[in-house]
Amino acid sequence: MNHVTQMPERRPAQVRKGAAATAAPRPADARARRRPTSPQWAAWAFLAPVTLYLALFYAYPLYRNLDLSLRNYTVRSFVQGDAPFTGLANYTKVFDDPTFAPALLHTVVFTAVCLIFQYAIGLALAVFFHQHFRLSATLRALFLVPWLLPLIVSASTWSWMLNSDSGIVNAALHAVGVGPVNWLTSPDWSLTSVIIANIWIGVPFNLVVLYSGLQSIPGSLYEAAALDGANAWQRFWRITFPLLRPVSAITLLLGLVYTLKVFDIIWIMTKGGPADSSTTFATWSYQLGFGNLLPAFGPGAAVGNLLVVAALVFGLIYLKVQRKQALS
């Protein structure tokens, strides 16, 4: 029991180093220590390039995107820059679009299913690899490969594996007596296909982060539980899972932000099709802006901005949770 009460005391000391990366020097610290008066201009001279960079290459593109969504752009006015201001017309257009409801549904399903499976598989693997057997470190490193591969490589490999006629997946299904599935060309299966590929890519991230979380759980807790006669299943649900909750929250929230913006995989494998059956907000936005011969920049930017809002909302929750954990 002693160990449990020790846990919260241990964390801040470790976290502090990282917290400095996110938080400004705490006022209390600054006042308590009479720090040498390091001139502010020197500090900001070092920060100036990155500040300018943020303004030019983050804020300005975002502003341009907002501007795009509030005007009626055509190809001509896009080049000349004299598109009329139309207020929220692009947004209402997007909301009334027959693609809106399916895109929303697909985005929610894609994100939720990917998150659940990535987390569950990642956690199971993290617990497994935490047991320190021969080769465990090497095999764990190999699990990083899907995460490191360029997305176009993963997506094209999965495309060929899921090919209806010549893919290995259908060949394997045939061997066990299941008929061929049109993974990428049937509206019933396309979303499932891109979800499978994306889970494969996301598992390593969950594995690595959750594994690092497992390492901070003191081994003596497990020894004590084993002495009390708890079996492996009980040890997992009574010790590992509850103590991993902070890390789990962070993993899931960050995973949520990452999954919301997944574009490459879906676009390369199905282009959101067939018949919009795997369209999410990310692919829909691109489809509107760049996917057609006649680009609809305004509505495309509007969809994109909805996605930005969603990502930022969950991103802020993530930052809040993370800061709360760092301070507690």
Binding site: A21, F133, F143, S156, V208, G289, L307, L316
Partner: protein
Amino acid sequence: MNRGAARSWWKTTLGLLLTAVMLFPVYWMLNVSLTPEQDMRKSPPDLFPAHGTLDGYRTVLDEQLPYLGTSLVVGLGTVVLTVALAAPAGYALAKLRPRGGGILSFLLLAAQMIPGIIMAMGFYAIYLQLGLLQSVPGLIVADSTLAVPFGVLIFTAFMSGIPGELLQAAKTDGAGALRTFVSIVLPMSRNAVVTVSLFAFLWSWSDFVFAGTLVNGGAHEPITLGIYHYIGNNNQEWNAIMATAVVASLPAAVILVLAQRYVAAGVTAGAVKD
């Protein structure tokens, strides 16, 4: 003792099996890249490249070298730009206690959450007016947005660990902030430089969204577009496509072999800060 060893072997076997399942797509990519054209549509497909051919790789050498060259240049450019921007910022945030530094850190974290296609659309609108579409420097700047916030984060965390006494001593010896940064902080942060460079290169090398919107159809296209055009043209030479994919995966493989500890550090740094 004996029982423990037996249990450990059982786990190793299971571990090998799980790794094999996980890496099957990678194996399949290799297998298909070596499969001769006439066996490509065979049903069921050959599980091993028994009649392996290097035709696919020959096609890569013939057709994809310019793409690979562009990717290399863009990747290295992104690394230089990212480190040049992120290292001084990390130093300032970690050691110089700037007023308003907290807000800047917060903005950098928020910046990481903006979906790439939205950035791409904004860049497209700007580059169109500036005439920077289909230019290599334009792509380098866009790709660097993938890595700069992460870079600042890593540098800040790493440089916080440099003992303050050391910097104080330098100051006593009359070194200014710039001098301290160049001759003490930067050399001591070699590991952080390596980590940030690796990821900046990998992300820029793997980028598809910016390449697809900003340099598509131009004279200098990166390897990701090379593969994409292959697939898009309804190309049936899947051995060539997969061979290109294998070559495009080489940086990832090199990074995994040479710098695995940096990779794991990088993955966790973004998420769990302890």
